[in-house]
Subunit: 170 residues, 4 copies
């Protein structure tokens, strides 16, 4: 009965280009049939949620927000299932643990902590290259010898859709 989920990780602030990329990623996740899980705040997080909710098709719910604070009302307006953790930035760990796979969309140091946790916890991990940031920097890298694979770099929306579809076959 469990819904499959993809984590979108990225900055809490985003310019127009990054916002558009995050919306594209959110929409692609919904169309592929996954719920998107993220940190529930603004920037890449709200854009990905909005993209999922406005996508032409998708599951119910489409968005799951895992907040740092204690108040569910701090979630962005497109968050459907809202988890108020109360554990601050330590909530970066539950975000990636709850996902079948993780995609980085740009990102600063906070996103880098989520990339690192994803690797350490054995989650599939990709970076959406057009968004730049830490996602782009670590694409193609093997983060440590405990895993044989490397971070998947997704060059465009088509590569993203293909990667998402491949996850359904696991």
């Amino acid at each position: 009965m469990r819904r499959r989920m993809i984590a979108v990780i990225g900055s809490g602030a985003a310019d127009d280009a990054l916002t558009a990329h995050a919306e594209d990623v959110g929409a692609a996740i919904a169309v592929a049939g996954f719920a998107g899980v993220c940190g529930g705040l603004g920037g890449v997080m709200s854009a990905a949620c909005r993209g999922a909710v406005n996508a032409p098709s998708g599951p119910t719910p489409r968005t799951v927000a895992i907040l740092p604070g204690t108040d569910t009302s701090s979630a962005n307006a497109w968050a459907e299932v809202v988890i108020a953790t109360g554990i601050g930035h330590a909530r970066n760990l539950p975000i990636v643990l709850s996902a079948d796979a993780v995609v980085a969309v740009g990102g600063g140091a906070g996103t880098l902590s989520e990339i690192a946790h994803s690797w350490q916890e054995g989650r599939r991990l990709a970076a959406y290259l057009p968004a730049g940031g830490w996602g782009e920097k670590i694409a193609g890298m093997t983060l440590d010898p405990k895993r044989p694979d490397s971070v998947v770099g997704l060059a465009d929306e088509r590569a993203l859709a293909h990667w998402l579809d491949s996850l359904l076959c696991d």
Copy 2:
């Protein structure tokens, strides 16, 4: 867009009578239009999830599980949205923070910690009296002077349904 949720807190082990009470509570939550959020494991948790999923009506999703461990596959079979926190028993806090209101169904020391967190965090709090346990023990009590109210005791399914309906008017 946020779905309203009611937390069901109770033991990870349950005899037949307690299981039946938890199913009743889960079903009532769904019928009232709320998603049920719980710790995602067995006993009262799985029974409440099963009750919600098998209820004659309810929202989508009906169940949200907030697990202590790192593996989503440890959730019970009726959990729809599964959060793997990786923070062990500290996940008792996110369970109650994510809910609009909390209902205790029986319960031992773990449940007591959730009752206490609910009070401390300002969440509405009730106990389903037929289930006994710590819920019944603290019903009617004012847990500390920081709040003026007391823990609501729900005598039967009818009182539960009435209480759930009253929450919709907030």
Copy 3:
């Protein structure tokens, strides 16, 4: 090499009588040779730390503070080793997990969550009766059937000192 520690749990606000009781408990812990671990803020927490630091004898360090926030400077002035968890009230769990035994000094709902966690996690648990609060309420109780024992009630400073000494023999 590990230093044995006793957790002191109690409210963040305390009147003169409760403050005096918390100082007594902190001092007794130090004199018995334990470090005191607490939530690091005010009320019972700061009084227990102050009592330990001002005791006629004790180990080094005498006080360990486990804060909810991200800033070590929010600890009280008598906290020697300061852990800034950043996980909010979820830090109630590490406080009791880090202790060989836990003593409740008064307490409201927050303290009750720590009492419950202590029981659930198998930590020895006592209440200092002169301080009242939830400690007094649960003294003598078996919180759930998973443990055969009951919460030890400590009637006065002499009983406290005796209990602390008995822990050294484990």
Copy 4:
């Protein structure tokens, strides 16, 4: 009264060369007058603790361990103050939050998450270059635009001692 602490972050497994580097770092921290705080397990963590305890001089306590699990007995043999968090890898956040500054000694993905958290939380951050790993990779980098500085690269023991001394002047 708060003791100043330096976090040592690094892998739970270490070969002879990495072990020697971690011992050197632990010893330098103690000699500079700081307590060392780490994750409390093996590899770089136990070597740094051992180095601190065996250093010719240092404060009391010299080592603070912040464990992922619930059992204080899982700490390495040189850990003096032991915090059992019970929050798994989410304890990477308290490690860096509790420190005045953080030094990476080698490191895989787990260490990378701590590097990222250190940056995000505004902690001073250096990498001991002889140890390689993620520390060396991010030395000299500005991890995101939220801070103007860059990760300090420490070329050898002398540079480490100089950096530690400079922290005392803050």
